[in-house]
């Protein structure tokens, strides 16, 4: 923290120096200083508050659990120099990882998180695609309003939107009341506390993340291609699969990654809608940390979750960077 503050003030001083040196021949120096400042300040902030913490999580995942505050025995302290470091290396413990491998609970939680996230991502795509498509085909004057309507729920609290579904899905909830009133069912459906409830929750909460990138690619698409295909006798469905869908693939990929990656580690939705039986790794990590107060095991859970997600995350970053290059 102190370091970050230091660089901030240092950076500001550099910018001020840059401003003073700006007149005449000093302009180039000023530009160089300004670029240093612009890059270094956010860079150091993210390094200290985003990257370094992962190192600490990794370190603590290798330490022993202890009944103390903080509840772990420190390893790899740099206080005793190089000799201390070597001594520390021998102290490292992989027991937390062995613990995760040994206990089927954790393995099941990882597998079911990935499966639930994958199924929900697919469902979100199925729900979101027609919506994005219809938005892209809407009259130009209507589109900003439709876009606004998709974004607005995204601004309202995630927690509130998940909470709204509890009242709808529970056995005596509004959905069952409605269905029984209409006469479709006689006994209430048990949706609450099942996987179905989690799917509904994820699709609902993440729908804007899917629709926005899809809309962005579909909106740029040249729909006269479809007309040309149809004039040449291609049926609408096959025109869709041969032209529209392939052209919208960048949006499909971006949308799916934006839904899948956070959904794997989702905590609020399985906790509120999934009940006690559903296993998801975000919930497991939360329980290890808050209920069992086992920080080293929680850290090991986080490190393995990160390893599972590192490939999709890098893929996401590449896709973002490529999209930017095309914008230029």
């Amino acid at each position: 923290m102190a370091r970050a503050i230091e660089t901030t003030t240092g950076g500001e001083a550099a910018a001020r120096a840059g401003a003073q040196a700006g007149e005449g021949p000093g302009t180039r120096l000023a530009a160089a200083l300004a670029s240093r400042f612009v890059i270094l300040v956010p860079y150091l902030w993210l390094l200290f508050f985003f990257l370094v913490p992962f190192g600490i999580v990794f370190k603590i995942s290798l330490s022993h659990t202890a009944i103390a505050m903080p509840p772990y025995t420190p390893v790899l302290g740099l206080g005793e120099g190089l000799a201390g470091l070597f001594a520390g290396l021998r102290e490292l413990s992989f027991e937390n990882y062995l613990w995760l491998v040994d206990d089927a609970l954790y393995l099941n939680a990882y597998v079911s998180s990935v499966v639930i996230a994958a199924v929900s991502t697919l469902l979100t795509l199925v729900v979101g695609y027609p919506l994005a498509y219809a938005m892209a085909r809407a009259p130009g004057s209507l589109r900003p309003v439709l876009l606004m309507l998709v974004i607005l729920p995204f601004w309202t609290s995630f927690l509130i939107r998940v909470y709204a579904w509890i009242g709808i899905l529970k056995p005596e909830g509004l959905l069952n009341q409605f269905l029984m009133w209409v006469g479709v069912i006689d006994t209430p459906l048990l949706i609450m506390n099942t996987h179905t409830a989690i799917f509904i929750g994820i699709v609902y909460s993440y729908l804007p993340f899917m629709v926005l990138p899809l809309y962005a690619t579909l909106e740029k698409m040249d729909f006269s291609l479809i007309e040309a295909a149809q004039d040449l006798g291609c049926p609408p469905m096959s025109a869709f699969w041969k032209i529209t869908f392939p052209l919208s693939l960048p949006g499909v990929v971006a949308g799916c990654l934006l839904v899948f990656i956070p959904a794997v580690g989702e905590f609020v939705i399985p906790d509120l809608l999934g009940g006690s039986q559903t296993l998801m790794i975000g919930k497991t990590l939360w329980n290890e940390f808050f209920a069992n107060r086992d920080w080293p095991v929680a850290s090991a859970v986080a490190i393995i979750l990160l390893l599972i997600l590192v490939l999709p995350i890098m893929f996401f970053q590449r896709a973002q960077a490529r999209a930017q290059e095309q914008e230029r």
């Binding site: 401003a19 700006g22 007149e23 302009t27 000023a30 670029s35 612009v38 890059i39 300040v41 860079y43 902030w45 993210l46 390094l47 508050f49 985003f50 370094v52 913490p53 999580v57 603590i60 729900v127 027609p130 919506l131 498509y133 085909r137 809407a138 009259p139 309507l149 974004i151 607005l152 601004w155 309202t156 609290s157 995630f158 927690l159 509130i160 939107r161 909470y163 709204a164 009242g167 005596e172 509004l174 009341q177 729908l207 990654l257 990656i261 956070p262 905590f267 609020v268 975000g282 990590l285 939360w286 986080a302 979750l305 997600l309 999709p312 995350i313 890098m314 970053q317 973002q320 914008e327």
Partner: protein, 274 residues
């Protein structure tokens, strides 16, 4: 050719938006329910809203949340704008790949990981958990959203404006504040608002990084939701939804007005030239 929507497209729009809005509408409607049973309609009443204002714990949490959101959104907007400038203006510098990774990864990073890692950092450097740590955590994850919003505006920015200013003798700093910043201002404001609402909404990261005396509103709501659905919670949620909706709509209208004004100015300038 895009004048009329097919029946399929109309159905997709109606069903899609019904799905998005029905749960929120039901939540709001039932916040005015006289009955304590949330799902049984017992007539119109505002009693739960009245009850809210005597709930000191909730009011305290709301005050903490508002302060955290204001401070963190403001700092995050400065840092996020700098990050966006770094990414769009300097295409090559040492560690750029790592930098863009650190800007984009938090957008999708599961919150439990971000929350846990930040907490362990604060413990490692000996920071007392509380208002300060929640604020630092929120700055870190919201600045990346600001960076993405501002960046998309910077990409479409006409750099010849800056070159013109510098040719006329403006320093880089002056050029930034008098030319660049006014042009990207709508994105900066949108970034601030996004950071503010993200901070306002966050439960997971706040739960990890906050300490005694810094309970935020989502933490308070969550602990009550776990005990069951109550009309009071519906009322709190309705107020939050109202605040956010008014804010977003107001910003959209102001932006629209400014756009219209700018178009008019441009037209006037062109006519003057002609």
């Amino acid at each position: 050719m895009q004048g009329k929507l097919s029946r399929f497209n109309v159905a997709a729009l109606v069903l899609g938006f019904a799905f998005l809005y029905l749960p929120i509408v039901l939540l709001i409607v039932y916040s005015f329910n006289a009955s304590r049973l949330v799902t049984v309609w017992g007539g119109f009443s505002t009693r739960w809203y009245v009850a809210l204002f005597s709930n000191q714990g909730l009011l305290d949490a709301a005050w903490v949340t508002a302060r955290v959101a204001f401070v963190s959104a403001t700092v995050a907007t400065v840092l996020g704008t700098l990050a966006a400038l770094a990414l769009t203006r300097y295409t090559r510098f040492r560690g750029r790949f790592l930098f863009s990774g650190m800007v984009f990864a938090p957008l999708v990073m599961p919150e439990v990981i971000t929350g846990l890692s930040l907490l362990l950092l604060f413990v490692a450097v000996g920071f007392d958990r509380g208002f300060m740590t929640v604020t630092l955590a929120h700055i870190t994850f919201t600045m990346c959203f600001v960076a993405v919003v501002v960046q998309s505006r910077l990409i479409s920015f006409d750099r010849s404006l800056e070159e013109a200013a510098q040719d006329l003798g403006a320093t880089p700093t002056r050029t930034f504040f008098q030319v660049t910043l006014p042009v990207i201002m709508p994105a900066v404001v949108a970034g601030w608002m996004l950071a503010f609402t993200l901070s306002l909404d966050d439960l997971v990261i706040a739960s990890f990084t906050s300490g005694p005396g810094a309970t935020t509103l989502p933490m308070k709501i969550y602990s009550q939701v776990r005990l069951g659905v109550t009309p009071e919670i519906n009322a709190v949620c309705t107020i939050l939804i109202a605040i956010v909706t008014v804010g977003v709509l107001a910003a959209a209208i102001v932006n629209k007005r400014r756009d219209v004004q700018r178009q008019r100015d441009e037209q006037a300038a062109q006519q003057a030239e002609a």
